[in-house]
């Protein structure tokens, strides 16, 4: 018997269109919502309410005082550490770090017990931009030596706000 050579091997093809539609929708969603994560960190400030401590204050253990002054626009107009003026230019924060190292007596990192170590009180004008305060805190907290962070002052507190 003669068998007709029909179209042999008919392909069963799945319809991919709907899947590709959904896949592209998902892709667009993820691309639109994608945001590069910015790493964040903290400066720790421990500030119990004044007068709650019963510890006797050692007069030689008084905190360093950092005074930050601002102009009407909120920019830094002057900075003084224990009455040592450091100006307000770009180099001021490097001078501040240098003075802190000088006052602490050594630029080498000091292993301190938890809760001890030098303390600094930041007294800032009310309308100074917060960015400058963080720059000052960065300068007094330490510096980077290669990949290593050399710590200077870890105890930071704020003076009362100046209205």
């Amino acid at each position: 018997m003669k068998i007709r050579n029909r179209e042999s091997g008919q392909k069963n093809e799945l319809n991919m269109t709907s899947m590709i539609d959904i896949v592209f929708l998902l892709l667009i969603f993820f691309v639109m919502t994608f945001k590069i994560v910015e790493m964040e960190g903290d400066f720790s400030v421990k500030m119990p309410l004044a007068g709650t401590s019963t510890d006797v204050v050692d007069p030689t253990d008084l905190p360093l005082k950092l005074r930050l002054r601002s102009n009407d626009a909120g920019s830094l107009s002057g900075m003084a550490l224990n009455d040592i003026e450091m100006g307000s230019d770009l180099e001021a924060f490097n001078k501040l770090r240098g003075n802190v190292i000088g006052l602490l007596g050594s630029s080498a990192p000091v292993e301190e017990e938890a809760g001890s170590g030098p303390e600094i009180e930041i007294d800032t004008d009310y309308n100074l931009r917060y960015e400058y305060v963080i720059r000052a805190i960065t300068a007094v907290s330490g510096y980077k030596d290669g990949d290593q962070v050399v710590k200077l002052i870890e105890k930071i507190k704020f003076a009362k706000p100046r209205r």
């Binding site: 590709i20 896949v23 945001k35 004008d125 009310y126 931009r129 917060y130 400058y132 963080i134 706000p161």
Partner: protein, 145 residues
């Protein structure tokens, strides 16, 4: 003249590599999507610092305060001023006390806008101190430059 009818083949491109790539892209974005951005607030652009590192251990009992450039304070979806912040803090402290902890166990994370007045941050600290909170963390962006 008789013209032979020729069957026209449809040109089909091979879709496999494109679908492969698309799935890989989806997998990439799914892995990188950051659901932890709930801490962020659109009103706040953090100042940056070269010294900070992301904390290795999460803070216990964090109270996250966002201070916008105009001085408004955002806590848990509501906005306050320095005068009304006490109401929001009391609510948070009630939760902390409910878990058998004291205010001194809580950590106040202050996310201040870089252009807000430093005095606003000091006011926030003062109000928190009045609520017996004493551990503060000033949140800044890591500067890798």
């Amino acid at each position: 003249m008789r013209v032979k009818q020729q069957q026209v083949d449809m040109a089909e491109g091979d879709m496999t590599p494109m679908i492969d790539m698309t799935f890989q892209l989806i997998a990439f974005f799914m892995v990188l999507i950051n659901f932890a951005q709930t801490e962020a607030n659109d009103h706040v652009v953090l100042p940056n610092s070269k010294l900070v590192k992301p904390p290795e251990v999460a803070l216990e009992f964090p109270i996250i305060l966002h201070v916008a450039a105009d001085g408004r304070i955002y806590l848990g979806g509501d906005d306050y001023t320095a005068e009304t912040l006490r109401i929001g803090l009391d609510r948070e402290l009630a939760v902390i006390r409910g878990e058998g902890k004291s205010p001194s166990d809580a950590n106040v994370v202050i996310r201040g806008h870089k252009d807000c007045a430093a005095g606003e941050i000091q006011e926030v600290v003062r109000v928190c101190q009045d609520s017996q909170l004493e551990n503060f963390a000033l949140r800044v962006k890591e500067d890798r430059s």
